[in-house]
């Protein structure tokens, strides 16, 4: 159980860490000051979540690694985030499309995890679900503003959605390790809320006058450490200082 839990906590923690890192790239560069604050808010929430989950992962692993050690000293093969969150920010529309698909999923995930038999996961989820409800609303509203805005914003958000769509299925994939944890009541079964996610996403896209992207081959691999080319660059930047100065305290 230790290893399966370690893996699961990494998935949850890495999702939030990588997405938090991506959003913090916007700081000082957003289209309007008010938007800068919104994105920073979401980034902060995500980094907070990741700290809790990575701490849990370290404890489950039982080798004395804490959240920072895990965040700053693993290479790509050991990261367990989904491919969606490591996608580049692109323009604001691409960033919103990524957030839209992810936060709607994460909200449903945390609602399930509030009932996890593992107290610590249930507690993290209970606190995080309030934050993620806000993230979802923010993303949904921006999808509609951009989709049903100008011709340019519509084209950009359609492109952004098209970029991200191939990463949606991975969010709902359940492998053998996860099946066991689901059976134990610790992990959530994402397949159970795929239908609800589809309904929510379709509704927002309709309001946004956007077409549901056509089905396509899913890109997967993140959950077993086979990432896109983007993650390596993201980690190089993020991990530079602790790796360049081993043993230093910051």
């Amino acid at each position: 159980m230790g290893e399966a839990l370690y893996d699961y906590a990494l998935r949850l923690g890495d999702d939030s860490l990588v997405l938090g890192q991506r959003l913090s790239e916007w700081c000082g560069h957003a289209p309007m000051l008010e938007i800068d604050l919104s994105l920073a808010n979401v980034a902060l929430d995500l980094i907070g979540q990741s700290t809790h989950f990575l701490k849990l992962a370290g404890e489950a692993e039982g080798k004395g690694r804490d959240a920072d050690t895990l965040a700053f000293h693993r290479d790509v093969l050991d990261f367990r985030n989904c491919l969606l969150v490591e996608q580049p920010n692109g323009d604001f529309a691409q960033t919103i499309a990524r957030q839209f698909l992810f936060s709607n999923w994460q909200e449903l995930l945390f609602r399930e995890l509030m009932h996890s038999k593992l107290e610590v996961i249930a507690a993290i989820a209970a606190k995080a679900v309030k934050e993620v409800t806000y993230h979802t609303r923010l993303a949904n509203e921006w999808m509609v503003r951009l989709g049903d805005g100008t011709a340019e914003s519509h084209a950009r958000v359609a492109d952004g959605l098209d970029w991200m769509w191939r990463f949606a299925d991975e969010l709902f994939a359940v492998d053998a390790a996860l099946e066991t944890l689901i059976g134990d009541g610790i992990a959530a079964d994402m397949r159970l809320f795929r239908g609800e996610w589809d309904i929510r996403v379709d509704k927002v896209l309709a309001d946004a006058t956007l077409e549901i992207p056509k089905p396509r081959r899913a890109a997967t691999g993140g959950r077993i450490g086979h990432h896109s080319e983007h993650l390596g660059h993201l980690l190089s930047e993020m991990q530079f200082l602790p790796r360049a100065y081993p043993g230093a305290r910051w």
């Binding site: 860490l17 890192q21 913090s24 790239e25 700081c27 000082g28 560069h29 957003a30 289209p31 309007m32 000051l33 008010e34 938007i35 800068d36 604050l37 920073a40 808010n41 980034a43 902060l44 980094i47 907070g48 990741s50 700290t51 990575l54 959240a67 920072d68 965040a71 700053f72 323009d91 604001f92 509609v144 503003r145 951009l146 049903d148 805005g149 100008t150 340019e152 914003s153 950009r156 930047e237 993020m238 530079f240 200082l241 602790p242 100065y245 043993g247 230093a248 305290r249 910051w250």
Partner: protein, 332 residues
Amino acid sequence: MYTTELNDKGRKSSLAPVVAEDPALLAAFEARVSADDFIEPKDWMPEAYRKTLVRQISQHAHSEIVGMLPEGNWITRAPSLRRKAVLLAKVQDEGGHGLYLYAAAETLGTSREDMIEALHSGRAKYSTIFNYPTLTWADIGAIGWLVDGAAIMNQVPLQRASYGPYARAMVRICKEESFHQRQGYEIMMTLAAGTTEQKRMAQDALDRWWWPSLMMFGPPDDNSPNSAQSMRWRIKRETNDQIRQRFVDVTVPQADAIGLRVPDPALAWNETRESYDFGEIDWDEFYAVVRGEGPVAKERMSARVKAWTDGAWVREAASTHAAKRDVRAAAE
């Protein structure tokens, strides 16, 4: 300071009103201000007061926004999760401070768009300090410790500035500011007590940020022609040299406490004045930076202009969508 008058050397800013103002109104205004009363947005005020405030408040706002860039430069490379979160929160606070101040300035008859245009065109200034680059993680510590430390010294008395919206914005800002300075000093403490390389990083940051921090307080008093009027109007509480001296007196012991050396060979405790004597500031450098020739002035401005320009379609989409919604709502 973020609010220091940043006129090009030798050029007096023209604050004389074009139209002669009613002496009775002027006298009543001066009496209210000297009685520690607050002036609120729709109250009568001399044109020079309004103009000075628009310039000062918007300059402060611009400083907060541009200030997000040197620190924002290190968020993705912060060396621990806690440092990343704290830095992100600090930079977010700075954005928020900019918002409070733009809001206060807008009560005086200018618009966010006008102020941004003034910044991007170079007409409006922002604090000179943000034209210096952040080269290492230690710079983040130095900025929190020195730059926020300097800002706090200026901002605390402005909580009783004569203009209500400005004073209230300053109260909000002051509440949030002390965490900023503490996080910076804590970084410096950690580095100064760390590995040889970390100590070197910390000392190097202090070497580069010390003098620009002293320059933040603005030109010497004998080259600040409008100080007296601003002080009478309670939009400036002390002279540049006074606050600068206090900053040195407070900060030198903080450097001593963590074993860092202030890069000033002329620095010496003066027993008679009970204050530190310190060396001459390079005023050529100061005025060059004010003119827009700071080391990374181009980088700062182009980043801000790019964000605004690249974001135009987003702002337009939001406005267009809102208009569409209004039309639909009216039709129902």
